[in-house]
Amino acid sequence: MISYLIKRILWMIPMLIGISLVSFFIMHLAPGDVTSSEASFNPKASEESRQKLRELYNLDKPVIIQYGLWVKRIAQLDFGNSFASHQKPVLWERTDKSGNVTKGLIQESLPITLMINLLGICIIFSISIFLGTLSAVRQNTWVDRSITLFVFIGFAIPGFWLALLLMYWTGVSNQWLPISGLHSLGYQNLSNFDQFTDLLKHLILPVSISSLSGLAGISLYVRNGMLDILHQDFITTARSKGLKESKIVFIHALKNAILPLITIVGLSIPGLIGGSVIAESIFAIPGMGKLFYDSVLMRDFPVIMGILTIGSFLTLIGNLLADIGYAWADPRVRKGLVK
Protein backbone atom coordinates (compact mmCIF):
# COMPACT_ATOMS: atom_id res chain seq x y z
CA MET A 1 0.00 0.00 0.00
CA ILE A 2 2.77 2.42 1.00
CA SER A 3 4.91 1.60 -2.05
CA TYR A 4 1.82 2.02 -4.23
CA LEU A 5 1.23 5.45 -2.66
CA ILE A 6 4.81 6.56 -3.26
CA LYS A 7 4.78 5.34 -6.85
CA ARG A 8 1.45 7.06 -7.41
CA ILE A 9 2.73 10.38 -6.04
CA LEU A 10 6.01 10.23 -7.98
CA TRP A 11 3.93 9.61 -11.10
CA MET A 12 2.51 13.12 -10.77
CA ILE A 13 5.89 14.73 -11.48
CA PRO A 14 6.15 13.80 -15.19
CA MET A 15 2.43 14.65 -15.51
CA LEU A 16 3.04 18.13 -14.08
CA ILE A 17 5.95 18.67 -16.46
CA GLY A 18 3.75 17.58 -19.37
CA ILE A 19 0.95 19.91 -18.30
CA SER A 20 3.37 22.83 -18.01
CA LEU A 21 4.67 22.09 -21.54
CA VAL A 22 1.13 22.07 -22.99
CA SER A 23 0.24 25.32 -21.17
CA PHE A 24 3.47 26.93 -22.32
CA PHE A 25 2.77 25.83 -25.90
CA ILE A 26 -0.70 27.42 -25.74
CA MET A 27 0.78 30.70 -24.56
CA HIS A 28 2.96 30.73 -27.65
CA LEU A 29 0.04 30.12 -30.01
CA ALA A 30 -0.67 33.82 -30.24
CA PRO A 31 0.55 35.22 -33.55
CA GLY A 32 3.77 37.17 -33.05
CA ASP A 33 4.15 37.14 -29.29
CA VAL A 34 1.53 37.45 -26.58
CA THR A 35 2.00 41.19 -26.43
CA SER A 36 1.30 41.85 -30.12
CA SER A 37 -1.90 42.72 -31.97
CA GLU A 38 -4.19 40.20 -30.30
CA ALA A 39 -3.36 41.52 -26.87
CA SER A 40 -4.29 44.99 -28.06
CA PHE A 41 -7.91 43.80 -27.93
CA ASN A 42 -7.60 44.63 -24.31
CA PRO A 43 -7.76 48.39 -23.98
CA LYS A 44 -5.85 48.12 -20.71
CA ALA A 45 -2.86 46.52 -22.44
CA SER A 46 -0.94 49.76 -22.62
CA GLU A 47 2.68 49.91 -23.76
CA GLU A 48 3.64 49.83 -20.09
CA SER A 49 1.72 46.64 -19.34
CA ARG A 50 3.06 45.03 -22.51
CA GLN A 51 6.53 45.75 -21.25
CA LYS A 52 5.57 44.07 -17.98
CA LEU A 53 4.29 41.05 -19.90
CA ARG A 54 7.56 40.86 -21.80
CA GLU A 55 9.46 40.96 -18.55
CA LEU A 56 7.14 38.46 -16.83
CA TYR A 57 7.56 35.83 -19.51
CA ASN A 58 11.12 36.86 -20.54
CA LEU A 59 9.96 37.15 -24.13
CA ASP A 60 13.29 38.61 -25.28
CA LYS A 61 15.10 35.38 -24.35
CA PRO A 62 15.22 32.10 -26.35
CA VAL A 63 12.11 29.87 -26.03
CA ILE A 64 13.80 27.14 -24.01
CA ILE A 65 15.04 29.64 -21.42
CA GLN A 66 11.60 31.27 -21.31
CA TYR A 67 10.12 27.87 -20.47
CA GLY A 68 12.75 27.19 -17.82
CA LEU A 69 12.22 30.55 -16.12
CA TRP A 70 8.44 30.18 -16.27
CA VAL A 71 8.52 26.69 -14.72
CA LYS A 72 10.90 27.96 -12.05
CA ARG A 73 8.42 30.69 -11.15
CA ILE A 74 5.32 28.46 -11.05
CA ALA A 75 7.24 25.85 -9.05
CA GLN A 76 7.56 28.62 -6.43
CA LEU A 77 3.81 29.23 -6.91
CA ASP A 78 4.47 32.69 -8.30
CA PHE A 79 1.95 33.38 -11.04
CA GLY A 80 2.53 37.13 -11.19
CA ASN A 81 -0.09 39.86 -10.98
CA SER A 82 -3.30 40.39 -12.91
CA PHE A 83 -3.33 43.09 -15.61
CA ALA A 84 -7.03 43.79 -15.42
CA SER A 85 -7.83 43.78 -11.71
CA HIS A 86 -5.54 46.53 -10.41
CA GLN A 87 -2.42 44.35 -10.22
CA LYS A 88 -3.97 41.91 -7.78
CA PRO A 89 -1.78 38.84 -7.29
CA VAL A 90 -3.03 35.88 -9.33
CA LEU A 91 -2.66 33.10 -6.79
CA TRP A 92 -2.08 34.11 -3.19
CA GLU A 93 -2.23 37.22 -1.01
CA ARG A 94 0.65 39.67 -0.83
CA THR A 95 1.54 42.04 1.94
CA ASP A 96 3.10 45.33 0.90
CA LYS A 97 5.55 47.46 2.88
CA SER A 98 2.89 49.29 4.86
CA GLY A 99 1.24 46.00 5.91
CA ASN A 100 -1.77 46.10 3.59
CA VAL A 101 -2.86 42.64 2.48
CA THR A 102 -4.06 42.18 -1.12
CA LYS A 103 -5.87 38.89 -1.56
CA GLY A 104 -5.02 36.68 -4.53
CA LEU A 105 -7.65 36.23 -7.27
CA ILE A 106 -7.55 32.42 -7.22
CA GLN A 107 -7.35 32.42 -3.43
CA GLU A 108 -10.66 34.29 -3.30
CA SER A 109 -12.50 32.44 -6.05
CA LEU A 110 -11.36 28.82 -5.74
CA PRO A 111 -13.20 28.02 -2.46
CA ILE A 112 -16.49 29.11 -4.06
CA THR A 113 -15.99 26.84 -7.07
CA LEU A 114 -14.92 23.95 -4.83
CA MET A 115 -17.98 24.43 -2.64
CA ILE A 116 -20.34 24.37 -5.64
CA ASN A 117 -18.66 21.31 -7.15
CA LEU A 118 -18.50 19.36 -3.88
CA LEU A 119 -22.20 20.06 -3.26
CA GLY A 120 -22.82 19.01 -6.87
CA ILE A 121 -20.92 15.74 -6.42
CA CYS A 122 -22.92 14.92 -3.25
CA ILE A 123 -26.19 15.59 -5.06
CA ILE A 124 -25.10 13.67 -8.18
CA PHE A 125 -24.18 10.61 -6.14
CA SER A 126 -27.16 10.45 -3.84
CA ILE A 127 -29.67 10.88 -6.66
CA SER A 128 -27.97 8.85 -9.38
CA ILE A 129 -27.27 5.81 -7.16
CA PHE A 130 -30.95 5.80 -6.32
CA LEU A 131 -32.11 6.26 -9.93
CA GLY A 132 -29.60 3.78 -11.37
CA THR A 133 -30.49 1.07 -8.86
CA LEU A 134 -34.21 1.63 -9.31
CA SER A 135 -33.80 1.46 -13.07
CA ALA A 136 -31.81 -1.79 -12.92
CA VAL A 137 -34.14 -3.50 -10.46
CA ARG A 138 -37.17 -2.56 -12.54
CA GLN A 139 -35.46 -3.30 -15.87
CA ASN A 140 -37.72 -2.90 -18.95
CA THR A 141 -40.65 -1.46 -17.01
CA TRP A 142 -42.01 2.05 -17.41
CA VAL A 143 -39.85 3.15 -14.47
CA ASP A 144 -36.69 2.03 -16.27
CA ARG A 145 -37.83 3.60 -19.55
CA SER A 146 -38.62 6.99 -18.01
CA ILE A 147 -35.28 7.06 -16.17
CA THR A 148 -33.50 6.19 -19.44
CA LEU A 149 -35.41 8.99 -21.19
CA PHE A 150 -34.32 11.38 -18.43
CA VAL A 151 -30.72 10.22 -18.93
CA PHE A 152 -30.81 10.87 -22.68
CA ILE A 153 -32.33 14.33 -22.20
CA GLY A 154 -29.85 15.08 -19.42
CA PHE A 155 -27.02 14.31 -21.82
CA ALA A 156 -28.46 16.45 -24.60
CA ILE A 157 -29.79 19.53 -22.82
CA PRO A 158 -27.44 22.52 -22.99
CA GLY A 159 -26.81 23.53 -19.37
CA PHE A 160 -26.84 27.25 -20.15
CA TRP A 161 -30.23 26.96 -21.82
CA LEU A 162 -31.74 25.13 -18.87
CA ALA A 163 -30.17 27.82 -16.68
CA LEU A 164 -31.96 30.52 -18.71
CA LEU A 165 -35.31 28.71 -18.48
CA LEU A 166 -34.93 28.17 -14.73
CA MET A 167 -33.87 31.79 -14.26
CA TYR A 168 -36.98 32.89 -16.09
CA TRP A 169 -39.30 30.49 -14.29
CA THR A 170 -38.05 30.73 -10.70
CA GLY A 171 -36.45 34.13 -10.77
CA VAL A 172 -38.27 36.42 -13.15
CA SER A 173 -41.86 35.26 -13.39
CA ASN A 174 -42.27 33.80 -9.87
CA GLN A 175 -39.40 35.38 -7.92
CA TRP A 176 -38.92 32.27 -5.78
CA LEU A 177 -35.15 32.23 -5.98
CA PRO A 178 -32.39 34.79 -6.41
CA ILE A 179 -30.78 34.49 -9.84
CA SER A 180 -27.41 36.15 -9.47
CA GLY A 181 -24.50 36.35 -7.08
CA LEU A 182 -23.98 34.49 -3.82
CA HIS A 183 -25.47 36.92 -1.32
CA SER A 184 -28.47 39.24 -1.16
CA LEU A 185 -28.15 42.96 -0.53
CA GLY A 186 -27.74 43.65 3.17
CA TYR A 187 -26.22 40.20 3.74
CA GLN A 188 -23.94 41.55 6.49
CA ASN A 189 -26.88 42.60 8.65
CA LEU A 190 -28.49 39.15 8.71
CA SER A 191 -28.16 36.69 11.58
CA ASN A 192 -25.87 33.69 11.08
CA PHE A 193 -28.76 31.37 10.33
CA ASP A 194 -30.30 33.80 7.83
CA GLN A 195 -26.91 34.24 6.16
CA PHE A 196 -26.73 30.47 5.76
CA THR A 197 -30.22 30.11 4.25
CA ASP A 198 -29.53 33.12 2.02
CA LEU A 199 -26.40 31.42 0.69
CA LEU A 200 -28.27 28.13 0.18
CA LYS A 201 -31.01 29.89 -1.79
CA HIS A 202 -28.38 31.44 -4.07
CA LEU A 203 -26.73 28.07 -4.56
CA ILE A 204 -29.81 26.03 -5.59
CA LEU A 205 -29.87 27.04 -9.26
CA PRO A 206 -26.12 26.97 -10.03
CA VAL A 207 -25.58 23.66 -8.24
CA SER A 208 -28.52 22.02 -10.04
CA ILE A 209 -27.29 23.23 -13.42
CA SER A 210 -23.72 22.10 -12.87
CA SER A 211 -24.75 18.64 -11.65
CA LEU A 212 -27.29 17.80 -14.38
CA SER A 213 -25.10 16.09 -16.98
CA GLY A 214 -23.13 14.24 -14.29
CA LEU A 215 -26.44 13.06 -12.86
CA ALA A 216 -27.44 11.57 -16.22
CA GLY A 217 -24.07 9.95 -16.84
CA ILE A 218 -23.70 8.37 -13.42
CA SER A 219 -27.30 7.12 -13.28
CA LEU A 220 -26.64 5.26 -16.53
CA TYR A 221 -23.34 3.96 -15.16
CA VAL A 222 -24.94 2.67 -11.95
CA ARG A 223 -27.78 1.06 -13.92
CA ASN A 224 -25.45 -0.83 -16.26
CA GLY A 225 -23.16 -1.83 -13.40
CA MET A 226 -26.09 -3.14 -11.34
CA LEU A 227 -27.50 -5.10 -14.30
CA ASP A 228 -24.10 -6.69 -14.80
CA ILE A 229 -23.77 -7.67 -11.16
CA LEU A 230 -27.35 -8.88 -10.73
CA HIS A 231 -26.62 -11.56 -13.34
CA GLN A 232 -23.50 -12.87 -11.63
CA ASP A 233 -23.17 -16.21 -9.87
CA PHE A 234 -22.85 -14.91 -6.33
CA ILE A 235 -26.20 -13.15 -6.64
CA THR A 236 -27.81 -16.36 -7.88
CA THR A 237 -26.27 -18.12 -4.88
CA ALA A 238 -27.64 -15.48 -2.54
CA ARG A 239 -31.09 -15.86 -4.12
CA SER A 240 -31.01 -19.66 -3.95
CA LYS A 241 -30.17 -19.65 -0.26
CA GLY A 242 -33.31 -17.63 0.23
CA LEU A 243 -32.02 -14.16 1.08
CA LYS A 244 -34.51 -11.33 0.92
CA GLU A 245 -34.41 -9.53 -2.42
CA SER A 246 -33.90 -6.15 -0.70
CA LYS A 247 -30.87 -7.53 1.13
CA ILE A 248 -29.45 -8.91 -2.14
CA VAL A 249 -29.87 -5.63 -3.97
CA PHE A 250 -28.83 -3.18 -1.30
CA ILE A 251 -26.08 -5.12 0.43
CA HIS A 252 -24.58 -7.59 -2.01
CA ALA A 253 -25.07 -5.93 -5.38
CA LEU A 254 -24.96 -2.21 -4.59
CA LYS A 255 -21.65 -2.45 -2.75
CA ASN A 256 -20.01 -3.83 -5.86
CA ALA A 257 -21.72 -1.39 -8.20
CA ILE A 258 -20.72 1.68 -6.18
CA LEU A 259 -17.04 0.82 -5.89
CA PRO A 260 -16.02 1.91 -9.43
CA LEU A 261 -17.79 5.25 -8.82
CA ILE A 262 -14.79 6.33 -6.73
CA THR A 263 -12.70 6.29 -9.90
CA ILE A 264 -15.46 8.04 -11.83
CA VAL A 265 -15.40 10.97 -9.35
CA GLY A 266 -11.72 11.40 -10.11
CA LEU A 267 -12.31 11.28 -13.84
CA SER A 268 -15.20 13.74 -13.72
CA ILE A 269 -13.23 16.49 -11.96
CA PRO A 270 -11.84 18.19 -15.11
CA GLY A 271 -15.35 18.26 -16.57
CA LEU A 272 -16.83 19.72 -13.38
CA ILE A 273 -14.15 22.40 -12.99
CA GLY A 274 -14.34 23.33 -16.68
CA GLY A 275 -18.14 23.29 -16.59
CA SER A 276 -18.16 25.86 -13.80
CA VAL A 277 -17.32 28.55 -16.40
CA ILE A 278 -20.83 28.50 -17.86
CA ALA A 279 -22.82 28.08 -14.62
CA GLU A 280 -20.82 30.76 -12.79
CA SER A 281 -20.91 33.33 -15.58
CA ILE A 282 -24.69 32.95 -16.06
CA PHE A 283 -25.46 33.28 -12.35
CA ALA A 284 -22.72 35.89 -11.74
CA ILE A 285 -21.02 33.81 -9.06
CA PRO A 286 -17.52 35.07 -8.24
CA GLY A 287 -15.83 31.64 -8.55
CA MET A 288 -12.85 30.46 -10.54
CA GLY A 289 -14.96 29.69 -13.63
CA LYS A 290 -16.22 33.26 -13.87
CA LEU A 291 -12.75 34.61 -13.11
CA PHE A 292 -11.43 32.54 -16.01
CA TYR A 293 -14.17 33.75 -18.35
CA ASP A 294 -13.58 37.40 -17.42
CA SER A 295 -9.84 36.95 -17.88
CA VAL A 296 -10.34 35.44 -21.34
CA LEU A 297 -12.51 38.44 -22.31
CA MET A 298 -9.87 40.86 -20.96
CA ARG A 299 -6.95 38.82 -22.35
CA ASP A 300 -5.52 38.84 -18.82
CA PHE A 301 -2.74 36.34 -19.58
CA PRO A 302 -1.20 35.84 -16.11
CA VAL A 303 -4.62 34.90 -14.69
CA ILE A 304 -5.41 32.59 -17.65
CA MET A 305 -2.12 30.75 -17.29
CA GLY A 306 -2.51 30.59 -13.50
CA ILE A 307 -6.02 29.09 -13.62
CA LEU A 308 -5.05 26.64 -16.38
CA THR A 309 -2.17 25.35 -14.26
CA ILE A 310 -4.05 25.31 -10.96
CA GLY A 311 -7.08 23.64 -12.60
CA SER A 312 -4.89 20.86 -13.99
CA PHE A 313 -3.11 20.49 -10.68
CA LEU A 314 -6.47 20.09 -8.91
CA THR A 315 -7.42 17.40 -11.42
CA LEU A 316 -4.22 15.50 -10.66
CA ILE A 317 -4.86 15.78 -6.92
CA GLY A 318 -8.46 14.63 -7.45
CA ASN A 319 -7.31 11.60 -9.43
CA LEU A 320 -4.73 10.81 -6.76
CA LEU A 321 -7.37 10.96 -4.00
CA ALA A 322 -9.73 8.80 -6.09
CA ASP A 323 -7.04 6.16 -6.66
CA ILE A 324 -6.13 6.13 -2.97
CA GLY A 325 -9.82 5.95 -2.06
CA TYR A 326 -10.31 3.03 -4.41
CA ALA A 327 -7.26 1.20 -3.09
CA TRP A 328 -8.56 1.71 0.42
CA ALA A 329 -12.17 0.71 -0.32
CA ASP A 330 -11.54 -2.39 -2.40
CA PRO A 331 -10.28 -5.24 -0.20
CA ARG A 332 -8.78 -6.98 -3.25
CA VAL A 333 -6.54 -3.98 -3.92
CA ARG A 334 -5.98 -3.19 -0.24
CA LYS A 335 -4.53 -6.63 0.42
CA GLY A 336 -2.34 -6.41 -2.67
CA LEU A 337 -4.12 -9.25 -4.49
CA VAL A 338 -4.62 -7.26 -7.68
CA LYS A 339 -2.76 -4.25 -8.97
Binding site: G18, I19, I153, P158, F160, G271, V277
Partner: protein, 272 residues
Protein backbone atom coordinates in the same frame (compact mmCIF):
# COMPACT_ATOMS: atom_id res chain seq x y z
CA UNK B 1 -30.54 0.33 -44.68
CA UNK B 2 -33.38 -2.03 -43.74
CA UNK B 3 -31.57 -2.79 -40.50
CA UNK B 4 -32.29 0.77 -39.38
CA UNK B 5 -36.00 0.01 -39.32
CA UNK B 6 -35.52 -2.75 -36.77
CA UNK B 7 -33.81 -0.35 -34.36
CA UNK B 8 -36.12 2.47 -33.26
CA UNK B 9 -33.30 4.33 -31.49
CA UNK B 10 -31.10 4.57 -34.56
CA UNK B 11 -34.05 5.29 -36.83
CA UNK B 12 -35.33 8.23 -34.76
CA UNK B 13 -31.78 9.59 -34.48
CA UNK B 14 -31.29 9.26 -38.23
CA UNK B 15 -34.58 11.02 -39.00
CA UNK B 16 -33.70 13.92 -36.69
CA UNK B 17 -30.23 14.36 -38.19
CA UNK B 18 -31.47 14.08 -41.80
CA UNK B 19 -34.20 16.66 -41.15
CA UNK B 20 -31.67 19.13 -39.77
CA UNK B 21 -29.26 18.37 -42.62
CA UNK B 22 -31.96 19.09 -45.19
CA UNK B 23 -33.06 22.25 -43.36
CA UNK B 24 -29.45 23.48 -43.36
CA UNK B 25 -28.93 22.68 -47.03
CA UNK B 26 -32.10 24.37 -48.28
CA UNK B 27 -31.80 27.31 -45.83
CA UNK B 28 -31.09 29.83 -48.63
CA UNK B 29 -34.23 28.68 -50.49
CA UNK B 30 -36.78 28.33 -47.69
CA UNK B 31 -35.63 31.09 -45.33
CA UNK B 32 -38.36 33.74 -45.56
CA UNK B 33 -35.97 36.63 -44.78
CA UNK B 34 -32.29 37.50 -45.03
CA UNK B 35 -30.97 36.23 -41.66
CA UNK B 36 -28.92 39.39 -41.11
CA UNK B 37 -31.50 41.90 -42.35
CA UNK B 38 -32.05 44.47 -39.62
CA UNK B 39 -35.55 45.94 -39.50
CA UNK B 40 -36.14 48.51 -36.79
CA UNK B 41 -39.90 48.40 -37.47
CA UNK B 42 -40.22 44.79 -36.32
CA UNK B 43 -38.23 44.58 -33.10
CA UNK B 44 -39.03 41.71 -30.66
CA UNK B 45 -42.24 40.59 -32.37
CA UNK B 46 -43.73 37.39 -30.92
CA UNK B 47 -44.17 34.35 -33.22
CA UNK B 48 -46.83 34.88 -35.89
CA UNK B 49 -47.54 33.76 -39.45
CA UNK B 50 -45.19 36.48 -40.73
CA UNK B 51 -42.36 35.52 -38.38
CA UNK B 52 -42.74 31.84 -37.43
CA UNK B 53 -40.36 32.14 -34.47
CA UNK B 54 -40.70 35.88 -33.87
CA UNK B 55 -37.99 38.51 -34.30
CA UNK B 56 -34.97 39.48 -32.20
CA UNK B 57 -33.78 42.75 -30.67
CA UNK B 58 -32.65 44.04 -34.09
CA UNK B 59 -35.84 42.99 -35.87
CA UNK B 60 -34.18 40.04 -37.61
CA UNK B 61 -36.34 37.01 -38.39
CA UNK B 62 -35.50 34.27 -35.84
CA UNK B 63 -36.72 31.40 -38.08
CA UNK B 64 -34.33 32.39 -40.86
CA UNK B 65 -31.49 32.77 -38.37
CA UNK B 66 -32.27 29.35 -36.93
CA UNK B 67 -32.02 27.78 -40.41
CA UNK B 68 -28.63 29.36 -41.05
CA UNK B 69 -27.60 28.44 -37.50
CA UNK B 70 -28.22 24.79 -38.43
CA UNK B 71 -25.50 25.10 -41.08
CA UNK B 72 -23.01 26.33 -38.49
CA UNK B 73 -23.84 23.63 -35.99
CA UNK B 74 -23.52 20.85 -38.61
CA UNK B 75 -20.28 22.31 -40.00
CA UNK B 76 -18.67 22.67 -36.58
CA UNK B 77 -19.75 19.16 -35.54
CA UNK B 78 -18.42 17.45 -38.66
CA UNK B 79 -15.15 19.37 -39.06
CA UNK B 80 -14.22 19.27 -35.35
CA UNK B 81 -14.93 15.56 -35.08
CA UNK B 82 -13.16 14.95 -38.41
CA UNK B 83 -10.00 16.54 -37.00
CA UNK B 84 -10.30 14.67 -33.69
CA UNK B 85 -10.92 11.33 -35.41
CA UNK B 86 -8.01 11.80 -37.79
CA UNK B 87 -5.57 12.57 -34.95
CA UNK B 88 -7.03 9.81 -32.79
CA UNK B 89 -6.80 7.18 -35.55
CA UNK B 90 -3.19 8.09 -36.40
CA UNK B 91 -1.94 8.20 -32.79
CA UNK B 92 -4.03 5.18 -31.73
CA UNK B 93 -2.74 3.13 -34.70
CA UNK B 94 0.86 4.00 -33.91
CA UNK B 95 0.44 3.17 -30.22
CA UNK B 96 -1.48 -0.04 -30.84
CA UNK B 97 0.72 -1.31 -33.67
CA UNK B 98 4.20 -0.52 -32.41
CA UNK B 99 3.55 -0.75 -28.62
CA UNK B 100 6.66 -0.36 -26.48
CA UNK B 101 8.01 3.15 -26.02
CA UNK B 102 5.86 4.60 -28.85
CA UNK B 103 2.77 3.41 -26.97
CA UNK B 104 4.01 4.71 -23.59
CA UNK B 105 4.85 8.10 -25.07
CA UNK B 106 1.48 8.53 -26.80
CA UNK B 107 -0.52 7.26 -23.84
CA UNK B 108 1.27 9.61 -21.42
CA UNK B 109 0.40 12.48 -23.76
CA UNK B 110 -3.23 11.32 -23.66
CA UNK B 111 -3.12 11.27 -19.84
CA UNK B 112 -1.69 14.79 -19.76
CA UNK B 113 -4.33 16.16 -22.14
CA UNK B 114 -7.08 14.47 -20.11
CA UNK B 115 -5.95 16.09 -16.87
CA UNK B 116 -6.29 19.65 -18.19
CA UNK B 117 -9.94 20.72 -17.76
CA UNK B 118 -11.17 20.66 -21.38
CA UNK B 119 -13.31 23.77 -21.28
CA UNK B 120 -10.44 25.75 -19.71
CA UNK B 121 -8.10 24.47 -22.40
CA UNK B 122 -10.48 25.49 -25.19
CA UNK B 123 -11.10 28.94 -23.68
CA UNK B 124 -7.37 29.51 -23.10
CA UNK B 125 -6.54 28.74 -26.73
CA UNK B 126 -9.33 31.06 -27.88
CA UNK B 127 -7.98 33.81 -25.61
CA UNK B 128 -4.64 33.63 -27.38
CA UNK B 129 -6.16 33.37 -30.88
CA UNK B 130 -9.26 35.23 -32.02
CA UNK B 131 -12.71 33.67 -31.73
CA UNK B 132 -13.90 32.66 -35.21
CA UNK B 133 -15.78 29.69 -36.55
CA UNK B 134 -12.62 28.15 -38.02
CA UNK B 135 -10.62 28.55 -34.83
CA UNK B 136 -13.50 27.02 -32.84
CA UNK B 137 -13.62 23.94 -35.06
CA UNK B 138 -9.86 23.44 -34.92
CA UNK B 139 -9.69 23.99 -31.18
CA UNK B 140 -12.55 21.59 -30.42
CA UNK B 141 -10.90 19.03 -32.73
CA UNK B 142 -7.47 19.43 -31.14
CA UNK B 143 -8.85 18.97 -27.63
CA UNK B 144 -11.11 15.95 -28.15
CA UNK B 145 -9.04 13.23 -29.85
CA UNK B 146 -8.04 11.36 -26.68
CA UNK B 147 -11.03 9.01 -26.53
CA UNK B 148 -10.60 7.85 -30.14
CA UNK B 149 -6.89 7.26 -29.58
CA UNK B 150 -7.61 4.97 -26.63
CA UNK B 151 -10.32 3.11 -28.58
CA UNK B 152 -8.18 2.48 -31.67
CA UNK B 153 -5.23 1.40 -29.54
CA UNK B 154 -7.37 -1.08 -27.59
CA UNK B 155 -8.84 -2.52 -30.82
CA UNK B 156 -5.36 -2.90 -32.34
CA UNK B 157 -4.12 -4.65 -29.20
CA UNK B 158 -6.77 -7.32 -29.58
CA UNK B 159 -6.40 -7.62 -33.37
CA UNK B 160 -2.63 -7.58 -33.54
CA UNK B 161 -2.14 -11.27 -32.70
CA UNK B 162 -4.88 -12.63 -34.97
CA UNK B 163 -3.75 -15.18 -37.58
CA UNK B 164 -4.63 -13.08 -40.61
CA UNK B 165 -2.56 -10.17 -39.35
CA UNK B 166 0.40 -12.40 -38.55
CA UNK B 167 0.00 -14.03 -41.98
CA UNK B 168 0.09 -10.66 -43.73
CA UNK B 169 3.18 -9.74 -41.74
CA UNK B 170 4.95 -13.02 -42.58
CA UNK B 171 4.17 -12.55 -46.27
CA UNK B 172 6.07 -9.30 -46.08
CA UNK B 173 3.32 -6.69 -46.24
CA UNK B 174 4.61 -3.38 -44.98
CA UNK B 175 3.31 -1.95 -41.73
CA UNK B 176 1.32 0.80 -43.41
CA UNK B 177 -0.68 -1.59 -45.55
CA UNK B 178 -1.34 -3.95 -42.63
CA UNK B 179 -2.75 -1.02 -40.66
CA UNK B 180 -4.83 0.33 -43.54
CA UNK B 181 -6.04 -2.97 -45.04
CA UNK B 182 -6.40 -5.27 -42.05
CA UNK B 183 -6.44 -3.49 -38.72
CA UNK B 184 -8.39 -0.28 -39.37
CA UNK B 185 -11.33 -1.84 -41.28
CA UNK B 186 -11.84 -4.23 -38.38
CA UNK B 187 -11.79 -1.41 -35.82
CA UNK B 188 -14.32 0.70 -37.67
CA UNK B 189 -17.37 0.09 -35.44
CA UNK B 190 -16.12 1.77 -32.26
CA UNK B 191 -14.59 4.60 -34.32
CA UNK B 192 -17.92 5.34 -36.05
CA UNK B 193 -19.91 5.15 -32.81
CA UNK B 194 -17.55 7.42 -30.93
CA UNK B 195 -17.44 9.91 -33.83
CA UNK B 196 -21.23 10.21 -33.89
CA UNK B 197 -21.31 10.70 -30.11
CA UNK B 198 -18.39 13.14 -30.50
CA UNK B 199 -20.41 15.31 -32.91
CA UNK B 200 -23.06 15.60 -30.19
CA UNK B 201 -20.60 16.99 -27.67
CA UNK B 202 -18.94 19.25 -30.27
CA UNK B 203 -22.35 20.80 -31.01
CA UNK B 204 -22.86 21.40 -27.28
CA UNK B 205 -19.40 22.94 -26.84
CA UNK B 206 -19.81 25.22 -29.87
CA UNK B 207 -23.19 26.47 -28.69
CA UNK B 208 -21.78 27.06 -25.20
CA UNK B 209 -18.84 29.03 -26.58
CA UNK B 210 -21.05 31.07 -28.90
CA UNK B 211 -23.42 31.74 -26.02
CA UNK B 212 -20.50 33.12 -24.01
CA UNK B 213 -19.55 35.32 -26.97
CA UNK B 214 -16.33 33.39 -27.57
CA UNK B 215 -17.53 31.26 -30.47
CA UNK B 216 -19.20 32.14 -33.74
CA UNK B 217 -19.19 35.94 -33.94
CA UNK B 218 -22.10 38.26 -34.78
CA UNK B 219 -23.65 38.89 -37.23
CA UNK B 220 -23.27 35.24 -38.31
CA UNK B 221 -26.17 33.37 -36.75
CA UNK B 222 -25.51 30.36 -34.54
CA UNK B 223 -27.94 28.73 -32.11
CA UNK B 224 -25.61 29.64 -29.28
CA UNK B 225 -25.43 33.36 -30.05
CA UNK B 226 -29.20 33.64 -30.64
CA UNK B 227 -29.46 32.43 -27.03
CA UNK B 228 -27.13 35.24 -25.93
CA UNK B 229 -29.80 37.66 -27.20
CA UNK B 230 -32.36 35.44 -25.49
CA UNK B 231 -30.66 36.03 -22.15
CA UNK B 232 -30.65 39.78 -22.69
CA UNK B 233 -34.39 39.92 -23.50
CA UNK B 234 -35.48 37.07 -21.22
CA UNK B 235 -38.10 39.20 -19.53
CA UNK B 236 -39.79 40.29 -22.76
CA UNK B 237 -39.11 37.65 -25.43
CA UNK B 238 -39.36 33.97 -24.43
CA UNK B 239 -39.19 32.89 -28.11
CA UNK B 240 -35.58 34.06 -28.36
CA UNK B 241 -34.61 31.57 -25.65
CA UNK B 242 -36.99 28.71 -26.38
CA UNK B 243 -36.35 27.85 -30.04
CA UNK B 244 -32.53 27.80 -30.24
CA UNK B 245 -32.29 25.80 -27.00
CA UNK B 246 -34.82 23.26 -28.28
CA UNK B 247 -32.91 23.01 -31.56
CA UNK B 248 -29.65 22.26 -29.73
CA UNK B 249 -31.39 19.75 -27.45
CA UNK B 250 -33.02 17.90 -30.37
CA UNK B 251 -29.84 17.87 -32.48
CA UNK B 252 -27.67 16.54 -29.67
CA UNK B 253 -30.36 14.01 -28.76
CA UNK B 254 -30.43 12.94 -32.42
CA UNK B 255 -26.69 12.28 -32.59
CA UNK B 256 -26.76 10.45 -29.24
CA UNK B 257 -29.67 8.24 -30.33
CA UNK B 258 -27.98 7.53 -33.66
CA UNK B 259 -24.67 6.72 -31.95
CA UNK B 260 -26.21 4.38 -29.36
CA UNK B 261 -28.38 2.78 -32.05
CA UNK B 262 -25.38 2.23 -34.35
CA UNK B 263 -23.55 0.58 -31.47
CA UNK B 264 -26.36 -2.01 -31.27
CA UNK B 265 -26.68 -2.42 -35.04
CA UNK B 266 -22.97 -2.79 -35.75
CA UNK B 267 -22.28 -5.09 -32.79
CA UNK B 268 -21.83 -8.54 -34.39
CA UNK B 269 -23.20 -10.14 -31.22
CA UNK B 270 -26.63 -8.71 -32.05
CA UNK B 271 -26.70 -10.06 -35.61
CA UNK B 272 -27.69 -13.59 -34.71
Amino acid sequence: MSIFFKNPLALSGLIIILTILIAALVAPIIAPYDPNFININSILLPPSTNHLMGTDGLGRDVFSRMLYGAQISLLVGFVAVGIATLIGVILGSLAGFYRGWVDSLIMRFVDIMLSIPTFFLILAVIAFLTPSIWNIMIVIGLTSWMGVTRLVRAEFFSLRQREYVLAAETMGSNHFSIIIKHLLPNSLTPIIVSSVLGIASAVLVESGLSFLGLGVQAPTASWGNILTDGKEYIQFAWWLSLFPGLAILITVLGYNLLGEGLRDILDPKNKI
